[in-house]
């Protein structure tokens, strides 16, 4: 078995980066440090991904860290999103002025919390122990709370307090679920319970206690579901996303939600082993469909562009959860959708954040004529939102199409109808705003921005990737996603 040095290196690098950011003096250096650390993390993640696909899994520290194709795929998406967000942070914060000035104190706080969150999320994805996984998840809440109120104001403090309290209680529930899962292992006969490893939990011979694992999954789903933004426990999400600085919102939507969903999915194979596939899949489909419907309802009434994107995240997390509940084909679609959503949503938040700086507003009614006002970011807004609402030929159209096929394959007709109805509602109400935002006449004088780093280095590759993935899925990626889907998609 090959050694897991990259695993340790990934964790150490993020923690070290956070400490270094505290010591640096100039904001520019701090932003550069976050980009360098994220780029290195991406390199490590890709290396791990390749190693995992070759050998099946990579472990470190006596299996306390364990990476399989499912977590490796998540790691790559995480580091990719983080790299994009870090580069965008360099562009975005350079133009913040007035009381939002990105001074040395704010920069140090941002750098440390930003890389700290990265470390915590990496810990969640790498850890084999469900207790440590929980610790990592709680740490992401505590670290990222102050990223929302990076510039303390009444509304950002309100959003931060809601996030902190609701998610802490949610994560506390997830801990009750974790304890139930551990207890279900001990009262079963075959399993060694001294270490709460999910690899042991997912062992078909673990003989888990059915009552306890049932309770465990309910608490896990509600607990981590709060953090993932599944309806009806999503109430913190629109506030936090609309109040946080744009790079932070992009990271929240682009990956933080996925991390929570990842934790839920780790408990699905054991639940299927113990109770058959109906219980877990039914709950995933129910909460997924509910999230899609609730989000579609709220999207109709949104005026603020960032709140609109936040509700769209609730919708897409719902779609991903729904996919995971629809068997192997659905799991494949869910993972593919996760990649597409992370890319599109971060790009959309970048565009809205940047245009917000130029237009001085996030209100969709006044933010108009983006394409004329700022060609590059206007294009990014148009492309990313078209992708988010599932327009062909962007990648999300393909993953949603695969999801529909999975729904037809499993004969989930009610879900199919609900999904199509909600998707149409979102499509129409988003398009109504988008046409004006992109093609209308500019209504207010634009603020001139210093363009230190050319924005096209993130806009163009991201848009190209979204188009390319919509038209053609490379065979190696198909295989990698398929392997990841097999980890959570097997039905007993």
């Amino acid at each position: 078995m090959q050694t897991g040095h990259p695993i340790v290196a990934m964790l150490a690098l993020a923690v070290l980066g956070a400490v270094v950011c505290l010591a640096l003096r100039r904001p520019r250096h701090i932003l550069a440090a976050t980009v360098i650390v994220s780029a290195l993390e991406l390199a490590f993640a890709v290396y791990l991904w390749v190693a995992v696909l070759e050998e099946g899994h990579v472990t470190a520290a006596e299996e306390w860290f364990y990476v399989d194709p499912f977590s490796a795929f998540h790691l790559v998406v995480l580091s990719l999103v983080f790299l994009l967000c870090s580069v965008f942070a360099g562009i975005y914060f350079a133009d913040e002025t007035g009381e939002h000035e990105f001074g040395p104190a704010v920069a140090r706080r941002f750098g440390a919390l930003w890389l700290g969150s990265l470390a915590a999320m990496t810990l969640v994805l790498l850890s084999n122990n469900i207790g440590i996984m929980w610790v990592g998840m709680e740490a992401t809440t505590l670290l990222s709370a102050f990223l929302i109120s990076l510039y303390p104001s009444r509304s950002s403090l309100e959003a931060m307090w809601k996030y902190l309290l609701i998610c802490s209680v949610g994560i506390a529930f997830a801990f009750i679920g974790t304890v139930f899962a551990a207890a279900s292992m001990q009262s079963g006969s075959g399993a060694q319970a001294e270490a709460l490893f999910w690899t042991r939990l997912a062992d078909p011979n673990a003989h888990l206690n059915p009552t306890l694992i049932k309770f465990a999954f309910l608490f896990i789903l509600v607990g981590y579901g709060t953090k993932a933004g599944l309806a009806p426990i999503h109430s913190w999400l629109p506030d936090a996303h609309s109040q946080a600085p744009a790079p932070v919102s992009a990271m929240f939507s682009g990956f933080l939600l996925n991390t929570a969903l990842y934790c839920i999915m780790r408990f699905v194979p054991p639940v299927r082993n113990a109770l058959g596939s109906g219980f877990a899949d039914g709950l995933l489909v129910f909460f997924g469909a509910l999230s899609i419907l609730v989000a579609a309802g709220f999207i109709v009434f949104q005026r603020d562009a960032k709140r609109f994107l936040a509700y769209s995240s609730v919708e897409h997390i719902g779609i991903i959860a729904l996919g995971f509940g629809l068997g192997p084909l659905g799991s494949f679609a869910a993972l593919f959708h996760m990649l597409n959503h992370s890319l599109s949503k971060s790009l959309a938040f970048f565009a809205v954040g940047r245009l917000g700086q130029r237009f001085g507003t996030h209100d969709m009614a006044t933010l108009s004529g983006a394409l004329r006002g700022d060609r590059l970011w206007g294009l990014a807004l148009l492309g990313s939102i078209l992708s988010l609402i599932g327009a062909a030929p962007f990648a999300i159209f393909m993953s949603e199409y695969q999801l529909l096929r999975a729904a037809v394959g499993t004969e989930a007709w009610v879900v199919l109808v609900l999904f199509l109805a909600a998707a149409s509602v979102v499509f129409i109400s988003a398009l109504r705003h988008l046409i004006d935002m992109a093609f209308g006449d500019a209504k207010s004088p634009l603020v001139a921005l210093r363009q230190r780093l050319p924005g096209f280095v993130i806009v163009m590759p991201a848009l190209a990737a979204l188009l390319l993935l919509g038209l053609w899925l490379p065979p190696w990626l198909t295989e990698a996603i398929g392997r990841a889907a097999a980890v959570v998609g097997m039905r007993t």
């Binding site: 122990n129 207790g131 440590i132 929980w134 610790v135 709680e138 740490a139 505590l142 709370a145 102050f146 109120s149 303390p152 104001s153 009444r154 509304s155 403090l157 309100e158 959003a159 931060m160 307090w161 809601k162 902190l164 309290l165 802490s168 209680v169 506390a172 801990f175 009750i176 304890v179 139930f180 551990a182 207890a183 001990q186 009262s187 319970a193 001294e194 270490a195 709460l196 206690n209 009552t211 306890l212 309770f215 629109p238 506030d239 609309s242 109040q243 709220f298 009434f301 949104q302 709140r307």
Partner: protein, 214 residues
């Protein structure tokens, strides 16, 4: 062993009702401190295989955090926030006590249901754990001030601690330390948040946090 647990159980329930019926914040913090110390003692009486170093460390660490350190932080915050009395909670004190009685009955029922699956867990502690979580949740939604919500969160923490101790015989030390550390950091982060809210809004009453809707 069981008589000691019964005493902890009875006194613990009392602290819950005291928290529900007290308006003075300082008194609430002291009740919470007593509750933290009481339930930290559970592992000492529950581990019948003798008092290992680990068990003593776990109990001692928990007492130091929940009995001493957290109350100090909270009392400090109380004077910073100039907040001495919960004047008009969203749910009144008499109604809160009534809720407590209903919650106790429901906890008994739930514990009875869970008992067969968790054969080695002492019944009264199982019931106490569920009750603590319910009371903590209730305090969070029924009290107006952010500081009281932090107290509610800590009551939930106590419940989870009891639940973890009685259901999982052997958790790795590393995990236990991580969990204690998280509770520790959570209180500080929430403390800083309350401090910022107080400075910005002039008080830590959450009914002012209503700008963001829909």
């Amino acid at each position: 062993m069981s008589s000691a647990l019964s005493t902890i159980h009875a006194l613990g329930l009392l602290t819950c009702f005291a928290l529900l019926g007290t308006s003075r914040v300082g008194a609430c913090i002291r009740w919470l401190s007593l509750q933290g110390i009481l339930f930290s003692l559970v592992p000492l009486f529950f581990h019948d295989d003798g008092l290992g170093l680990r068990v003593i460390l776990l109990a001692g660490g928990n007492i130091a955090l929940k009995g001493v350190l957290f109350p100090i932080v909270l009392l400090h915050l109380r004077s910073r926030a100039n907040y001495h009395r919960e004047v008009e909670p969203f749910v009144g004190f008499v109604a809160s006590i009534l809720f407590g009685i209903v919650a106790l009955a429901v906890s008994l029922g739930l514990a009875l249901k869970l008992q067969p699956a968790l054969a080695h867990a002492p019944f009264i502690m199982l019931e106490a754990a569920i009750f603590l979580v319910a009371i903590g949740l209730f305090l969070i939604v029924s009290r107006r001030n952010a500081l009281m919500q932090v107290l509610g969160y800590l009551v939930i923490e106590n419940g989870i601690f009891v639940f973890a101790v009685i259901t999982v015989a052997e958790t790795p030390l590393l995990v236990e330390l991580g969990i204690l550390l998280d509770a520790f950091v959570a209180v500080f982060v929430m403390g800083i948040a309350v401090f910022h809210i107080t400075r910005e809004f002039g008080s830590a009453d959450v009914d002012q946090l209503t700008t963001l809707r829909g």
